[in-house]
Symmetry: C2
């Protein structure tokens, strides 16, 4: 690692003409970006949060992923983690968050995520040590604001960006990164397969405050001109090092696609739908040899450990249709991923497990159960799953249904799906739709799994709604811009923002307005109601409010 890889070179930026996206203030009216100032081992750190200012003079604080604002992407964002890493650089090679945690040390990253999640740092350390959570934080990614991924924490979401051979622009990908984190992406994967893979990734890294994941086999394949049969372990490891030097925080590696599993996909409706999985299957068949990512796994662990890159063990045999869900190929690979998890942990390398894909509602629980069991509670990271195959153009929705469900069961990170899934490369608007939809799924999961404080947000917004504090309702929402816009479409005047009704029902039929009158009537008759209250029939099993 040299400084030149960390400092963007304007001359190399070429295509990177900054694109203009709306500002934080435009996206989050009524919110300010704040930070909690911490000191840990002599290091000052600013833990970001977003403060929503309410008309009641109060405020509501929310987790914030938006990162530093207002920097020219050709300069990159500040390297907030540089001093933390520098301080331990002499001894830190080969030390990972897991190794520190097992040694009983609370790192700056652990202290940071503990403050961010509102939990004890010791609890974070324990979860990392046991492998139930990960902090993907390559020591070369010094722009990072650390994030913890594990089922006892806030459910995280990932946004996929990256070019393809038919579409390519570095500026557009950096814009998608910024747009993703503006709306709530906790991590971003750069899945570029087109031109300028290295340069695109460099500009993404230098502008990313969130962990960046990649699928290194894509670049390895580019290096052999797209011929899977020319892939080798050495070439793959060379690619890992190249990407690790740039600061990539987690690698998807399809080491569970074993030769003996490939024939199990022969009768599937949709065969292999993982790009990495199909590449490795082709290699295995060409040589009739075991997957070199599997046989070379310990060598790969050495690189991961050197930079503290986290494994995201890829599900190369994931189902691409309901018909193929939970089949022998998928479940066989899952067990292999569990076996590899144990090897990675032996090297103190952090591990996440990737999951499907396309799964009908009634088969989702089995995925979560089997993953926890066979992968020893390593964090699960699923794509959706989509609960039906028949709605291309709406797969952010078909998959959010599955994502909210598996999240509520304990899936730690949900990889978003955009409306363009199965149809084309997402543009900026699709990225926003995907991110907001997945924040909905993740938050619904957090409420369902009883995460401390999660429902407070719902209660704050609902109270604002009930009290006709329209501005507060909009400011507290997942996407204030859209909420304002939709309200303005029928009642554009500022007066409507203080009215005790909306255009859905009009003034006479507003249930919430009438409830106010009902409550006044109840207050007037409080003595009568004291009597009535004693007569009220409370059904057994009903939740008391």
């Amino acid at each position: 690692m040299t400084d030149t890889t960390l400092t963007p070179n304007r001359e190399e930026s070429g295509e990177l003409t900054p694109r203009s996206i709306p500002t934080f203030q435009e996206c989050w009216p009524g919110s300010t970006k704040e930070s909690l100032e911490l000191e840990h081992n002599g290091h000052k750190m600013s833990v970001p949060f977003r403060r929503v200012h309410l008309s009641t003079e109060g405020h509501f604080d929310l987790y914030d992923t938006t990162g530093p604002q207002g920097f020219d992407p050709r300069d990159g964002i500040p390297k907030v983690r540089e001093s933390w890493v520098a301080n331990r650089s002499d001894q830190s090679r080969g030390w990972t968050q897991m190794r520190w945690a097992r040694a009983g040390v609370i790192t700056e990253e652990m202290a940071f995520v503990a403050a961010r999640e509102g939990v004890e740092a010791e609890f974070v350390r324990l979860e990392i040590a046991e492998g139930r959570a990960v902090i993907p934080a390559n020591r070369c990614h010094t722009e990072l604001e650390p994030v913890i991924i594990g089922r006892k924490f806030r459910t995280k979401i990932n946004s996929n960006i990256g070019n393809s051979a038919t579409h390519s622009s570095i500026a557009e990908e950096v814009e998608k990164l910024q747009w993703s984190t503006m709306w709530g992406a906790d991590t971003v994967m750069d899945l570029s397969t087109g031109e300028n893979i290295h340069a695109t990734r460099e500009w993404i890294m230098r502008n990313s405050s969130v962990p960046i994941g990649t699928v290194p086999i894509y670049q390895a394949l580019e290096k052999v001109n797209g011929d899977p049969e020319k892939l080798t372990l050495d070439l793959f490891i060379e690619t890992l090092v190249e990407q690790a030097e740039q600061g990539v925080d987690y690698f998807t590696i399809h080491a569970g696609v074993l030769l003996r599993f490939v024939p199990l996909t022969a009768d599937r409706v949709t065969g292999l739908v993982s790009r990495g999985g199909s590449i490795m299957a082709k290699w295995c068949l060409a040589y009739h040899e075991e997957n070199f990512l599997y046989t070379g796994f310990e060598k790969i662990c050495e690189v991961m450990k050197e930079y503290d890159v986290t494994f995201s063990l890829g599900d190369g045999l994931r189902p691409g249709s309901l018909a193929d869900a939970n089949d022998a190929a998928q479940m066989g690979e899952l067990r292999t991923l569990g076996e590899l998890t144990q090897i990675a942990w032996k090297h103190d390398v952090q591990v996440m497990i990737e999951g499907p894909g396309h799964v009908p509602i009634h088969l989702i629980q089995e995925n979560m159960d089997e993953q926890l069991k066979h992968c020893f509670e390593a964090p699960f990271y699923t794509l959706g799953p989509l609960v039906t195959d028949v709605a291309p153009g709406y797969d952010h929705i078909t998959s959010a249904i599955g994502a909210a469900n598996i999240g509520s069961m304990g899936c730690a990170m949900l990889c978003y799906v955009t409306p363009k899934e199965h149809l084309g490369l997402p543009d900026r608007d699709d990225v926003k739709t995907g991110v907001v939809t997945y924040r909905i799924a993740a938050h619904a999961a957090d409420v369902a799994k009883g995460l401390t404080g999660a429902r407070d947000w719902d209660d704050a917004l609902s109270l604002a709604r009930f009290e006709f504090r329209w501005h507060d309702q909009f400011r507290l929402s997942m996407d204030p811009v859209t909420a304002y816009d939709f309200h303005d479409q029928t009642l554009p005047s500022e007066n409507a923002k203080v009215a005790h009704f909306c255009s859905m029902c009009g003034p006479k039929f507003c249930a919430m307005k009438i409830t106010g009158e009902v409550r006044e009537a109840m207050a007037d008759k409080s003595s009568e109601f004291a009597q009535l209250g004693r007569e009220v029939y409370v059904p057994e099993g009903a939740t008391e409010v």
Copy 2:
């Protein structure tokens, strides 16, 4: 009932300047509208379905709600049910589908829905007789193509339309009706509360091939200038008769909002959010008397029976926020609805039960369990539920998550929510988004509950996807127009519709293309794989494909 109420009068149409919506052919490229010709008791009937023509020379048939096409709304659509009803008119007053079913008679409506669902007519009769399913079919709604609602049948969805005091146009509401059924609404509720309630409903009825529901208390309230305290049972019944004469197929009636439940809402975050519920609560408190819809329920049953209008027993105390979900008020009302169900059934009146609202994922199952238990398996009909309160502008999604879940548990009909929920009156685009989103939820539920044939649709589309039959994939989708549009945005040429890749991955990285090559390789090595297959490790519990 006179002929004049059934025959639209062009002079009265005033505002009804037909609006132009895309045609069936434009919405469903590659599909044709077909029908199965049946004869029952000497009556010919055409049971509609949609045939999707595939490039393989095959076809795939789907349930069709689009209704007769190409009629001027000022003339209304054909009265396909007129002869069925006329034939039994002498004896049919006071006879309902439930009464016929209990008498062992299979009506034309039962034969129609049996063919439409692909089940035995005797099975339909039994489900109706037992109250587990309903066929909302007012004898005055002769334009109806009957629909069955029950958990052993295809999950249905409802679209809400209707004007409000701030927005009103008959033509716009008729357009929303047509647009709703074009995309898959099984029933439509006219929730108008603004001007021209009677005329708006008339034009909706005369153009609707799907069952129409209303909330009669809205019109009753209009008749007393918006003052709930002036409402009386007589006025309400007069309104029921007026609407029943027009042909309304089901009425939402908030007869379970009992005086003693109202104080239970005092400490709620969002009080009462049902318009009908809040109106009745206000009436109860004003007089400190029991809800007249409850005390007068048997009189109401007489009207329902006379026209065979189905009850949709309203959940006036449904929660309007996660905080209020499953509380004592809601559960108390649910038990009262069960009590009323028994009374309605005594009169042979069909019943559905309405449900919430806002419910976090982990509390949804309790709603379904309690409803089945306390309402004796009468069909459940829920609004969503929304699984989080924090995403105004995206409540079609927050609620589709809840809807798919409760549908998979046995909820018979899902009332859609549009993106404008909580913000304003939906326009035509919102209606389409709501309907398609809810068709996704309903179909996902059908797959999960194992409805015969449901997954065949997913398999047909997935196979088309895998075989790069792009046109077939789009034609088989929930919304071909959007699928084509999204694909065209990145690869607009006709060549791309036969290409073995898309813009997501480009040609080199297409997993499905590589799978084709993998399969060829497997075929070449079939003898080796026969051997390998014997060595394949099949994990216990894995589903064999």
